[in-house]
Amino acid sequence: MSNNEFTQELSVIEGKPSLRSLDEIISKPLDTKPDKKYYIALGVTLTMLTIGAVALAYSFYYGIGLWGNNNPVGWAWPIVNFVFWIGIGHAGTLISAILFLFRQKWRTGIARFAEGMTIFAVITAMIFPIIHTGRPWVAAVYLLPYPSQHSLWVNFYSPLLWDVFAVSTYFTVSFTFWYVGLIPDFASLRDRTKSKVKKIIYSITSLGWRHSNRHWRHYEMVYLILAGLATPLVLSVHTVVSFDFAVAQLPGWHSTIFPPYFVAGAVFSGFAMVQNVLIFIRKIFNYEHIITLDTLEKMNKIILLTGSMVGYAYTMEFFIAWYSGVPTEMFTFVNRAFGDYSWAYWIMFSCNVFIPQLFWFKKIRRTIPIMFVIAVFVNVGMWFERFVITVTSLSRDFLPSSWAYFKPTIVDGALLLGSFGLFFTLVLLFTKSLPVISIAEVKGVVDGSQPSHGEH
């Protein structure tokens, strides 16, 4: 045994598939007609989407009084959903940018898909604050600094406005990053397709990419730069989202732990969602050798890590509430755990802190059904985390005379369902219209695809 063994890189793609077979397997879903199961799945998600759309039309026509939002709890579900979906998006950027900077090759198989999910999640998320204004068609007027008749500008000191900039920048940059990654793949598809229409489409979308090394040289640099820009960006987005809460003075919100705690939570829930969807994708499209069990295990490790960070934040919040000596703060936390909303608090706590601890066991990390269920729990828990933060604090603010219990209405529920419908509809359409695995990147990490260094 030589020492070299330790520095030798493990292969991230199993079984050394030939490059052409990779082309074939990745573009297969694009070339074949969808089967019955696909239509059933699409039918389900479209139904969900329609239910949400009807609920939304109702809300526009009759006003958002149809929702459960009441006087102290003005932020209720729309904001809970917004923070939840934005969080889901974070995993994609983490995988595509941060892990890229850390040269984690196992990311190549899942990066494209995760980035796609980022984009869909951000689209879904952006809907909520905008419809929360009640009249979204005039919302742009209130959100953006534009020279208006009133000659008044938006308030640049407000975290809500920071959010507008952070989320829209995040969307734009993620989309750009995603598209840049897609260009070489479009070129490969262009060169293999036999259909005339597809050829035209791919010619346009590939911009006439020629796989030229004189291009790769700049391209790779830009990819690195974009990863470098996206990394602080993704951290800033959930930080700014947390400012929406932390900058307010409400007990339970006004806390400096929020930014890191929110970012960890976002990555946590995002990874859970990506893991859930990938388990289906790799099975349905036979990508088991590209999205390997090792990859899933590594994702589970990240879920375990971020889950523990979130758990730490929960307990630390309690400690700080007590240590601060502020009676309202102390009350808020006792109330969270033992008050009217204790049910939500304990759902959150067990789903996010206790259940993911099972990932300490290697066996569980590598058993697909179990990890799937755990990740579902994580997503449920993370939705409840946002619910607990938003609703418990608002419903029990400083003035006991204004306290009220928040109850969602059926329209709230329909909108949440609709948001899942929208997200999964986009995911399904994505799997059939674009390569869900980056062809060029995966080829570059297959064993034997890079020159051996033996000659010098």
Partner: protein, 379 residues
Amino acid sequence: MSEKILYSYSALFDTPDKIIHAAKTVAEKGFKKFDVNTPYPVHGMDKAMKLTKSKIGWVTLVFGLTGTLTAVTMMGWMMAVDYPIVIGGKPYFGLPGFGPIMFELSVLFGAVITVVALLMFFLKLPNNSHPVHDTEYMKNVSSDKYGILIEATDPKFNKNEVEALFQELGAEKILPIYFDEEEISFKPKIFDKKFIGFLVIVAAITSLSVYGTMNKVLYMIPFSWMSEQGKSIPQETSKVFKNGSDMLPPVKGTVARGYLPYRFKGQPDKAAELLVNPLLPTEENLALGKTKFNIYCSPCHGYLADGKSRLNGNFPAPPTLHSNKVRNWTDGRIYHVIMEGQNVMPSYAHQLSEKERWAVINYIRVLQRSFNAKESDLL
């Protein structure tokens, strides 16, 4: 048929090692106009081709900083120059509060402009009319082969030599690439019928949809600026109560605040006896009394209450209020006159609130005293 114009000679290789070797040799031979095409970036190829490091990072740096600067100037101008408002006690120009948006715009500018620069200026894309497109060469290098091509315009280019060189390097296949006849002789036709037709259709759709949105959709519920609201509108029947109104009449005997009925209707003596002036003759109360007296009483009674009416005989002039009779009246008795009027003088109950009535009375007392001043008042 004219002769095809040669663009380049190309060779396909099987393994990354071979292509690296080929690139190195070609570069060392002094060829300048050559290129390597690989399905994915091959490590070490830049070095083999003697390419320098990409300088595109400078674009990011410059435009990222432009983003920062844009953000600061925009926010500074809007918040501190154009429309300064104090928000939460923060300074007009508060850098810490601008921080997040400065960061976001730096990233936005940096990322988007870098990509635009990459595609348009560094790679000269989009370009779908390059000679390599649609060749067998291209189809292979975008899948699983590694290709190298030397352009015919390279000063050292020589058909046979290049072919021999490729052979020697172990090329799997050697292919000439020609310019596409159609693409070379292609001329853009702006006045093409189809193109004009397309423009007309686009114009029609755009104007129709803009017209429809601005003039129709925006006047439909719910886009119509809340013109339709779930509220009661006067003169319209409502479903809230059985009688078709939105408000119920008040319960019998309800009295509005400040409108208690007068207790001594037609009983001046009782009023004189039982009503007590609750107001003290403070400066404030007298000032109020003076104002109200001058407005409501002075036109008939004169500014000094001496009966010098300003109505020029259009209305019977009242007697002076400095008579012994009125001076000996209690405040309650005068109050009664204000409430009920007296003979031709109408009631002033509606014009004056209770407090104002007493204030006016206090002021009348002042006037009376000044007309009958004693020596002791001068001290």
